[in-house]
């Protein structure tokens, strides 16, 4: 089991979600995030004073998948979320020891 974490541009969420559903991914968890990297932030101006906003809004997606799904899932995310422009984001994969479905206490792949 692996946890795939993807930090992406928010407007790509729908497309990525659909691509993962096609692969059979049944669920995912999203958090709002602020990214810092090569992509620049912006400036806001209130009453003549400038305020730099370094961070750019991102969504952070977590999907727990079985081993054999890691590659297809990562590939699907990268393929769908890429616009070719700076700031498209990162995907990383983390090992998972165990997964449990709270409702049923099922464990492992059954829990997904």
């Amino acid at each position: 089991m692996r946890l795939v974490v993807a930090v992406l541009k928010p407007f790509k969420l729908d497309e990525v979600k659909k691509a993962l559903q096609v692969l059979g991914v049944a669920g995912m968890t999203i958090t709002e995030a602020q990214g810092f990297g090569r992509q620049r932030g912006h400036t806001e101006v209130y009453r003549g004073a400038e305020y730099e906003v370094d961070f750019v809004p991102k969504i952070r997606m977590e999907v727990v998948v079985s081993e054999d799904m890691v590659e297809p899932v990562v590939d699907a995310i990268v393929a769908t979320a890429s616009t070719g422009k700076i700031g498209d984001g990162k995907v990383w994969v983390v090992p998972v020891d165990a997964v449990v479905r709270v409702r049923t206490a099922e464990r492992g792949v059954d829990a997904l």
Binding site: P10, I30, R38, R40, H42, P57, K85, I86
Partner: protein, 478 residues
Amino acid sequence: MLGTLTPYPNWLNTGDNTWQLVAATLVGLMSIPGLAVLYGGLVQKKWAVNTMLMAFAGFSIVLIVWVLWAFNMAFGHPIGGHGFFGNMVGMPHPIVSHFGEQNRANIPLVSGTGAMPPFHYPTSTLAYFQFVFAAITPLLFLGSVMGRMKFKAWLLLVPLWTTFVYAINAFMLWGGGWFAQQGALDYSGGYVIHLSAGVSGFVAAAIVGPRLKRDRQHGVPNNLLLVAVGAGILWLGWNGFNGGDPYFAGADAAAAVINTNLATAAALLMWVFMDMRFSKQRKPTLLGAVNGMICGLVAITPSAGWVDGYGAIIVGIVASGIVWVAWTYLPRIRPFSKVDDALGVVYTHGIAGLAGGLLLGFLGDPGMVEYLGKGKTASFSVNGLFYTGSWHQVWEQLVAGVWVICFSAVMTAVLCLIVKKVVGGLRMSDEELETGDLAVHDEEVYPPEPFAERVGVLAAASRAAEGTGEDIDDRSKP
């Protein structure tokens, strides 16, 4: 052509007509948007839409009821007969024909008897002015029952309550009915409006049952800026509320305005002082200030043009102090500990209204002239205990107060039970109670921005950063 057209009949005074229409508009603004957003900001986020919709709909219903029958129940000819029951309510009758709207205003048992000077404007003006008072009253007690009452039940309770509670109390105190005949007084509605709303809300809250336990525990307001918007409109709108009630743009209207503000300022400061001195946190709070402000506005309402400025300041301080203590300690004892009066209407309107009504009996200054007498006629003013040593006015105020409490409580209970029967329950379903606005109206007060919308900033920003090349990166290498 028609060279001799004239703009208005000669009984019409443009200043009085203007004052009354503007005062009415100010009072209307107190409901919509005033109370709607005051309550909308004070309730939990999950109930803001529901509360506001009930306010807008309630306001609308009262107007229809008012012009079709209730205005004349409150201010028309008595239904006939002698004694208490013959002077309890007026004959229902619409006022929306062309004659009904444009003829000269008259309250048969008051201006019709010479107990006050004849009006200088048409019935539309008087009826609209009185409507905004009738409309705000159920909106006030909405604060007691918000967060669980069925919308349909509200749609039915409001017209019934206006007809069978409000119109009757109004006739008895303002329309020249029984209590008015005994000498009880209520300048602009400390009893007819606030005491009645406070009691009725409390009773209705008891019958409808409490909000979800979770809602009572986590019932934090959602937006104090909007509370300030509503509170500010209430305060200044009250210039129309009390300033309009002499029915003429005279000297007493001006005195009522300044007295209203004096009591309010004093009450606000008093509550802030109590919070700083006696609350557990010993800190001044904005919502405390707003509570104090409302106490002052409510408490001066029964006496605004009949006390002088000193009296007004005393009314504000005393009422605010009493309500502060009640607000702090009564919730520990029954029935206050049991009934879920969501926004505490029974305190800031009920108790403050009663306190103000009784204080008139003590503080009414005979030198404050509402209408001037001519020749041998005495001017109209009020004789408070502190000026005359007579308990008469105190007694009249007490009797009328007891009546308003008992009658409003009993009638509201009866009407709630009728509505329950007709609509099939007063409460929302559990699912609706848990979810709030989204379940009941499919709306949220601050609809969430879809994820997709958050891209905008990026689009612009990344374009700016990219320039021409690909890996322009002036930040990652230090």
